[in-house]
């Protein structure tokens, strides 16, 4: 039993924290929300130079061969800062899919560039059904006469698709099979004929898009993994993504808590700081306890992943738990900021809006509890 981080992890956390404070304060988040690119390519290059994109990637792909715990540390700090970057889309969703399913050529071609920040990947999974289950995938991949496939369908809420160099499209390939055994993964060039990318406006202001696929031709070489073998890969990547996002949400909750604490300690009403009222103290004490709970649920799940243990149940539980906590924290944060909590020119609302988006992404509390129930054999 060891709740401590390694020295290297402590150093990593401190460096990421410092980077965020210096390079990406909330003014940057505000700027990027208005900006159609949605992230600063210069900062992204710096992130790559600091080796943070490829923390847990093998050395042969230019990575640091670290553990998923390192990723969780970075995500927690990014979550604190609400850092707008393709890290989650590219390093976690996209990169880990290639890492798990790609052949040597694909990995050697893509992963070093992903790790160096030169290529941005993303995973085009969800559709208008909003489902994260295999049965929710309706996009079709039809075998083309001259080899390869033709894709048709609509992908919704694809993160950073608008700047991606390569999309990984999850599609239902024809032939026999259940919902789970007929899913395949395809590497798609977003500039290919028939691909349309339309940015969506979402509650958090993060950059996510609709990806339209109309008779998009994909070469045989761009099949990722085996035909019909895509879903287990997606399942594994979703587990990792949930844990990473849980850590990010813990960071966001903690930052919202600290911002609120700072406010209630300094806001004077009725002759003293409003933080002296138990109505505020007890609610924040409960939330602090919940955030602490969520933190260790997330880190335990990250540890399970880093140990190569099955982590689906832990990942779903962590995501379900923090979804609830982050939204409650976001709500308390705007509440205790009074009128300032409602105004865009103040920063606390960023956390409130992000909490609501993060809650829905990768499955909300209900969906994840049900998944955990299945994992527990209920």
């Amino acid at each position: 039993m060891d709740y401590g981080f390694s020295e290297a992890q402590e150093l990593l956390r401190a460096s990421v924290k410092e980077f965020m404070v210096n390079e990406a304060p909330l003014a940057h988040v505000r700027e990027m929300e208005e900006n159609s690119t949605g992230f600063a390519p210069g900062l992204w290059r710096k992130l790559a130079q600091l080796d943070w994109i490829g923390l847990d990637y093998p050395e042969k792909y230019a990575g640091l061969d670290g553990s998923f715990l390192d990723v969780a540390v970075v995500m927690e700090e990014m979550g604190r800062a609400l850092f707008p970057s393709p890290y989650f889309a590219s390093a976690i969703l996209g990169g880990h899919t290639v890492l798990a399913a790609g052949n040597d050529n694909q990995k050697e071609d893509l992963l070093p560039k992903v790790v160096r920040g030169e290529t941005i990947l993303t995973l085009a999974l969800t559709e208008p059904s909003g489902s994260y289950e295999a049965s929710g995938v309706e996009t079709t991949a039809t075998a083309a006469s001259g080899g390869g496939h033709v894709l048709n369908g609509t992908k919704l809420l694809v993160p950073f698709a608008h700047v991606a160099d390569r999309l990984i499209v999850v599609a239902r390939s024809d032939g026999q099979g259940t919902a789970e055994t007929s899913i395949s993964l395809f590497l798609v060039d977003p500039k290919a004929a028939g691909v349309t990318i339309t940015p969506l406006r979402i509650i958090s202001g993060e950059k996510q898009s609709e990806v339209g696929l109309q008779n998009v031709k994909v070469a045989a070489a761009d099949l990722l993994g085996t035909l019909g073998g895509g879903w287990p890969v997606v399942g594994d990547v979703l587990d990792k993504a949930k844990v990473a996002m849980s850590a990010e949400m813990v960071g966001g909750s903690q930052a919202a808590l600290e911002m609120t604490l700072n406010y209630v300690k300094n806001r004077i009403q009725f002759g003293g700081p409003i933080g002296r009222f138990q109505a505020i103290q007890h609610r924040l004490a409960d939330l602090a306890t919940d955030i602490e709970s969520a933190r260790w649920l997330a880190y335990e799940a990250a540890w399970e992943i880093s140990e190569g243990q099955p982590a689906s149940a832990a990942a779903s539980m962590a995501k379900a738990f923090i979804s609830d906590v982050y939204v409650r924290m976001g709500r308390a944060a705007v509440q205790f900021h009074g009128g300032y909590g409602y105004m865009k020119e103040f920063d606390v609302q960023f956390y409130f809006r992000r909490a609501k988006a993060s809650e829905a992404i990768l499955g909300d509390q209900y969906a994840n509890r049900e998944l955990a129930a299945q994992q527990m054999g209920l």
């Binding site: 039993m1 709740y3 409960d286 306890t289 880190y299 539980m317 379900a320 209900y366 527990m376 209920l378």
Partner: protein
Amino acid sequence: MRFKFTEQQDALRREVKDFLEKEWDEEAQLRAEEAGELASGHSPTLHQKVASKGLVALNWPTEYGGRGWTPIEMAIFAEELGYHKVLDGVYRNTMIIGNSICHFGTDEQKKKYLPDIAAGKTLFSIGYTEPNAGSDLASLETRAAEDGDEYVINGVKVFNTGGHIASYCWLATRTDPDAPKHRGISVFIVDLKSPGITIRPLHNVADGHGQNELVFQDVRVPKENMVGEKNRGWYLMAKALDIERIRTSPSGRHQRVLEMLIEYCKETKRNGIPLIKDPLVRQQIVQLYTEAKAARLISYKVIYQQSKGEIPDVPASMAKLSGSELSQKIAHLGMQLLGPRSIIHGSSKWSAMNGELEHMVRETITYTISAGASEIQRMVIAGRGLGLPRG
């Protein structure tokens, strides 16, 4: 970062599990119940067995016959006690006091009390709470006035656990009424057979009478029974909290009840469908399970910090708060899951899950009150943890 135990620790858990499965199985529990031990919250039979395994003195230094366990081993042990539904109130107190005597007692006190405690011959009860000193314990009013070689004690203690079966009371008294309230308290070991002590049982909502009211009327206690220095009692009491902070016993209990609940929901059909297939039931079970997991993780974090020599006051408050609130939540939601028969007492064949949850709902009332009410824990978290000003 590692979320598992060492091999030795796992082996220890196995050893404790085996011991409890053998000595505290259904049969043993039934016998204890028939002997009226469950109601009084302490099984002397089991206590003897625990003592003979050397498990009463487990955290004491080895020179006093203890096993010198660290907080981690203690936590494993406590978790298994909880899992196996061992009533540990009196036993726990005795263990805590034994430990305090190791640290603060005189050589004479050590010689007099420690061997008997370790052998399971002596039980202690704790006399802290008073009618006007609950959450605000430092305002206690029981007076100990110096008179020659003795102190004369007058006052009332309430919600005292186990006074009716213990030999001694570990009693907090006011020895300097003029000092600031934290600085005028002294702790005595009082023989409960001393003249002037009356013990009135308090019957609780869970049909137990583990708690008592203790009235002290001109009770004379020799000076040498004072533990630590005069007027330094608050310090002793605060130090004893270190062990109190090991709160994995509720985690064990949560785990056990949830396992039973899952089993029940798998076996029981409603409208021809197993309860566990009901989407609402699944949601609630997973939610409780997740919260239990989270509460356990926090309680382990406390122990981890202790094992590093840190004083985990804020995490300990978080562990106490989340663990005790969760005990009630499991009991209440569990009862709901069981349906209308959940309200029938376990003595009836019609009770659901042998009335386990109905009893738990009543029994857990005190969990969010004793050893620092939830409101007090939130104050500690808000004040010491979050740095919020006092109201």
